[in-house]
Symmetry: C2
Subunit: 151 residues, 2 copies
DNA sequence: CCTTGACCTAAAGTTAGGTTTAGAAATTAC
DNA sequence: GTAATTTCTAAACCTAACTTTAGGTCAAGG
């Protein structure tokens, strides 16, 4: 025996570079689902290394954990994902990324226009276009203009 | 009299679309400095509308409040900023933006490579290049790989 | 003059994405 | 068989960027 009882959380952490606490947190967020050994400890599959790798990459691309969970749900549940499976969901990532780049480039164009006209004053400036404001991907619960203001 | 005693915080909020609480918060962060009327209430200049507009735009571009304060410090303190002054600091914003777009495009190239090879596995993948990881601009105090892991 | 609405401060709450801590149980190593 | 590691859970803490709340003051209208 002991040919393959699964990876412990510590080993998975070392293989991925993530903190043990982060891996537990991802589980709480539904991004990964280990099983438990008789003693109640988490055990992971080899494929989970790749899964967490994907999570880390997707984060760099600016996806939130719920968004990543959504993308990961595209993987087959009944078997270990193949390279083709990973390619498929990586394409989705690429689409997200393209959209973000596109948004930033439009923002840049608007800024160039504003630098040109020197306006930078609210109602006139293209930078206040609601479409652009809506998708600001900043951090935290920033009251994004367009949502209800105070009172 | 009453020709111009300055704007109240409520008026400034309406003109910019910001919440009153946000404007006070920005003051605490050193982004804006109103004076006080005899009763102790905040009074703002017309130019502060533009100042807050700039703050909002810079936030869309992903700058943090400290970074924005830094950029704003390039404005003249002794007089009302001219359109030229605004143009000058807007150029800095443009540089920030260019850099962010550049990073994302490099990330995209890496992803394309990875989709091609189907690896997506830690040590081989270009997406794990420390250079790219280092500058992840995500939100919050994320323990970015490369910093000391747990213990 | 008095009421209503705007404003004040300080402190606590919120979200995302985690980390840290505390105390206990399971594993591994010798 | 026991000591040293790991792991477990639950709860508290952290940052950024704000909002909400509580309790009180200021200003404007009638």
């Amino acid at each position: 025996m002991a040919v393959s009882e699964g990876l412990t959380i510590g080993v998975l952490a070392r293989r991925t570079g993530l903190a043990v606490s982060a891996i537990r947190y991802y589980e709480a967020q539904g991004l990964i689902s280990p099983w438990r050994n008789p003693g109640g400890q988490r055990r992971y599959q080899r494929a989970d290394i790749r899964r967490l790798s994907f999570v880390m990459i997707a984060q760099q691309f600016g996806l939130t954990l719920p968004e990543i969970r959504e993308v990961l749900s595209g993987l087959p549940g009944n078997r270990t994902p193949t390279p083709q499976d990973w390619k498929a969901i990586s394409m989705q990532l690429r689409a997200h990324l393209d959209q973000r780049i596109d948004t930033l480039m439009r923002l840049r164009d608007n800024l160039d226009g504003c630098i040109g006209c020197g306006c930078l004053s609210l109602p006139k400036c293209a930078l206040y276009n609601p479409d652009d404001r809506a998708k600001s991907h900043g951090s935290g619960p920033r009251y994004l203009m367009g949502d209800a203001p105070e009172a």
